[in-house]
Amino acid sequence: MNKYDVIVIGGGHNGLVNAAYLAKAGRKVLVLERRHVLGGAAVTEEIYPGFQYSVASYVVSLLRPEIIRELDLPRHGLEILPLDGTFTPMPSGDHLWRVNDHAKTRREIARHSKLDAEAYDEYGKAMMEMGRFVKPILTMTPPDPTSLEPRGLMNLLFLGRRFQALSDQDKYNQVQLMTMSAVDFLDQWFETDVLKATMSASGIIGTFLGVRSPGTAYVLLHHYMGEIDGAFRSWGLSRGGTGAISLAIADAAREAGAEIRTETAVSKIIVKDGAASGVVLANGDYITADVVSSSVDPNLTFLKMVGTEHLPSGFVDDVKRYKYRGSSGKVNLALDALPNFTAMPGAGPHLRGAISISPGVEYMERAYDEAKYGRYSRRPYIDMVIPSLTDPSVAPPGKHVMSCFVQYAPYNLKEGGTWDDHREAFGDTVINTIAEYAPNIKDIILHRQVLTPLDIERTFGLTEGNIFQGELTLEQLFFLRPAPGWAQYRTPVKSLYMCGSATHPGGGIMGAPGRNAAQKIIKDGRR
């Protein structure tokens, strides 16, 4: 009775995607989630009565279109609403407001620099090409570059051929993207400070790096690959909050026959003769399965649940070396009215997109300087979204919800005391920063939820509060994610697989790790 083909640990979006594909392939699947709600970091919760917070992850763009299609997610309740534009208020009272309407954005950028307006077209085209080049890599199992396994070699050859097919300029762009800093890369295209600052912000999200640190240009592309309805670089919100995405995937998984249990924490993965044979729950119960697929990060999977005694020592070293270094926090607000920005007063459409506190490159780099020495940024980068303007279902009539993603908030705080001592001061810093651009903010807050990296770790089981289950830096990507030689979703423990964001192609509400891992499990099962 208590025997399954596959147990999936963790009911976040990747665990659920993994379960849905496995169940569709006829496997008897059980998903185990520690919390009372599904979704992991892609979750909606009513923290304050009447207001639905997308507690952690708050926008969607990376969710793979093939997953939406194959799991038929719209039928299961998924509805993506477009999030139009990015509004950056400046201390001078000026602003930069980019929208999806290309001509409008061009005119806006031309207001700052005619040269940049022209470069913006070129840049968009170049990034599109880069995105097209990288896209097939997302759904690929990374090859092992040190083995002569034919399939891996074919993949390498395939990548080589695709690279050859790029135009000369795109080849150089690609090499630069993989190695440069976001700002150095953008410096080659643009001269407007606020434009570069806002664009470079997507290069640092979820990493413990600054906009001038080499390697951040790649993260720029990672976020650029967002794809909704086939259009690159469009961000969206899901109706009902981010958690609605997870619930739609869970619904698809259940329909395919998967069983999902919440408030069921796994404490151990049972390893017998070098193979996983099930799990022990926190309450002491055993559940057996032929395969265990873990969507939680390598720290929890291997060091906590498997135990180092079952693992080769070199692999244990690699798992311990894998870098998390959470660098961001989140502030969720219930608002009585809309914030009023000095740079563009009133409740205009500029509030419907992302609102970015990234007024200059130096501002961004200074925010990082403090984090390097263990302080949270006194003037942080903040990315705000007011989802209630697009989806009124998340707040009572006339009221609003505002999501504020904040960076930097280093997990290893050196301010004296722990994050528990600094949570509210950190929240105040965020509100004070916003107040410099929207002075009425302090008067309209009905409720405030502050999530420090420590809270993110405790609540979502994300080690050190890293939102991507490990930094998206080059030494932790593709065939190195999460450990050299173990990037194929398999692990040194037979019949134990990884299917979370700590595997290729990494974090964000993408679902690709869950899908890729499911395909691997299905294929291995046929042998």
Binding site: P145, T146, L209, S213, P214, G215, R321, L474, E475
Partner: protein
């Protein structure tokens, strides 16, 4: 034979001129300053005091030393210890050419680090041999590699595989890594970490933090 002008008589300009002249070309070098050497010139900066004003001696290629017969023209002095790291608490950590002796000195700070140092040096040496092979190559054109360049790259690929699994993954991981992250994976003593990482930042703009500087450590 052709007539060639080399602009700038720094060490690279002179090396170019040397090989061209040796191949029978008529070479003229033009130098703006009264002395040759560029950054690698020794000058009297105060009466009776001479120093290389810009450059420390770098890893001059062995093939260049051999081809120019430099060993008979220049006396290379290898100071030992070759580096002393100073700590604000008054302690010092000397790095000598002898790895065992350096490890002993490190032992005064940390026994763990003393044990790991020889392995670290040996690993860097192996990877260094591989990388040093790349320094003798002209980088292939990435858009239209010539057949000869492809052949050279193929040889590089073969040597990469010969490194073995552990080392080739190390090379891939360390390449884009921050020097500070790399040294903290190996050592626990701050002074040792800083001394080793500083070799990754000579002449680079970045501090030890950001990635992409690890390869210079060797």
């Amino acid at each position: 034979m052709s007539a060639i002008i080399v602009i700038g008589a720094g060490h690279n300009g002179m090396t170019t001129a040397f090989y061209l002249a040796k191949a029978g070309h008529k070479v003229t070098m033009l130098e703006r300053r009264p002395v040759v050497g560029g950054c690698a010139a020794t000058e009297e900066f105060a009466l009776g005091f001479r120093a290389p004003l810009a450059n420390a001696v770098g890893p001059l290629r062995r093939s260049v030393i051999r081809d120019m017969g430099l060993a008979t023209r220049v006396q290379f002095i290898h100071p030992d210890p070759r580096l002393v790291a100073l700590s604000p608490d008054g302690r010092a950590l000397p790095f000598s050419a002898d790895i065992g002796r350096t490890a002993e000195a490190i032992g005064a700070f940390s026994q763990n680090d003393a044990r790991r140092y020889p392995e670290f040096c040996e690993t860097l040496r192996r990877l260094g041999v591989f990388l040093s092979g790349l320094f003798d190559l002209t980088p292939p054109s990435i858009d239209a590699p010539a057949a000869g360049e492809m052949w050279e790259m193929l040889k590089v690929g073969k040597r990469f595989r010969a490194l073995g699994r552990t080392d080739s993954f190390r090379l891939l991981r360390w390449g884009p890594m921050a020097a500070a992250d790399l040294v903290s994976e190996w050592f626990e003593t701050d002074l040792l970490q800083a001394a080793v990482a500083s070799r990754g930042v000579f002449g680079r703009r970045w501090a030890p933090g950001p990635p992409g500087v690890a390869p210079c450590c060797s």
